[in-house]
Symmetry: C2
Subunit: 219 residues, 2 copies
């Protein structure tokens, strides 16, 4: 828990609020702040060396992202996910990413898209020999790229709002299970489907990928 302050003392480019946000996100999705844990404002603000006001702004955003949940009298605690919630999260994720895949198929200029996705896959490939965290990171980056390339800012924003919940799902289910979803081949299939421009196929590929992923997590 002492490490919580470190990220803050580092690069001072962003506002304290954003730094606190990142630090808290990391602390929660890494399990440093375990699910169900009660978050006391005074405690956290002291840990992060920031004032309560600044901290509260960050907490609001975390609440919106679904990483912390509010109890009675505004008491916040780290959200705890059950299996149904994980399935629900992945259902929404599937809906968003299938839209992304469909959109990309309809793009007139797909050369650049395919290139970017291949680069993302290369990163994933390089990470296969790395740590679990690295593999998860590269996987999420691939999917985020999928959404970003559509040029639909709303879609990207919605996906990013869900990202925290996705990370919690993986963490809650266990990193090993989570990583089992990150086969490079499966992702290559997605890119191939998009490359052909077959929207129905691309959508189907994504939906199956998400289905498998969710099933692996809750099994």
């Amino acid at each position: 828990m002492a490490g919580l302050t470190a990220p803050l003392l580092g690069l001072q480019k962003k506002s304290l609020r954003e730094q606190a946000l990142s630090a808290l996100r990391t602390a929660i999705t890494s399990g440093e702040l375990e699910p169900g844990r009660h978050l006391v404002e005074t405690e956290l603000s002291e840990m992060l060396q920031i004032s309560r006001g600044t901290l509260r702004e960050a907490l609001r955003q975390l609440e919106q992202e679904g990483l912390v949940s509010a109890g009675p009298r505004g008491r916040l605690s780290v959200r705890h996910l059950d299996e149904k919630e994980i399935r629900d999260i992945y259902a929404v994720r599937a809906a968003l990413e299938s839209l992304a895949a469909r959109t990309l198929c309809e793009l007139p200029e797909r050369q650049h898209v395919t290139e970017s996705l291949h680069r993302a896959i290369d990163v994933m490939t390089a990470a296969t020999s790395g740590s679990l965290e690295e593999r998860i990171e590269s996987d999420l980056e691939f999917h985020r790229t999928l959404c970003r390339l559509t040029g639909n800012e709303t879609l990207l924003h919605s996906w990013e709002s869900l990202e925290g919940s996705i990370r919690m799902s993986i963490m809650f289910a266990g990193l090993e299970k989570g990583v089992s979803n990150m086969s490079v081949d499966r992702h290559r299939d997605i890119v191939t489907a998009i490359d052909t421009g077959d929207a129905a196929l691309a959508r189907k590929t994504i939906l199956e990928h998400m289905d498998t992923a969710a099933a692996n997590l809750v099994s």
Copy 2:
């Protein structure tokens, strides 16, 4: 603009932050705070009769919902939507609601669902003779109900995060255009499709509805 304080002085059950949030949401989606308008914290806090700290928490959430956008040095202004953004918002909305329709079709116990949706349609029907605002309200309530009935909290939350943007789309395009999408019959079709349990049909019906709606808004 003077009316901005009224909602706050009313029911004092919710926290000031939540009241400010509602008041600002209403002010923005009603056009009282026009798109592009620069939001000065001291100005707003004085208007709403709350402190800046409390206000800032509300503004963070509005930012997350896409109703206000951040400029350089944290300057906030009311978001301005162009036609592409409206199309993008409706694409995401369509993805979410088609998931909702599909999910509802797969529910074993659809009796209660159908009843609730019919009630929502009755409200819409009653609103046909009402004001534009009432009609919009009842329409959104129908679609929100669609998401709520799935029992997927994440889906509902994602939809609600988008709700502000949807309202802005309607307002930006003009209330008349927006209301043209609110044919009771079209919505009855959706319920019918769900009632039959045909997921593919329900999905298709929703997607077409959203497509038409978006087209009407940007035309």
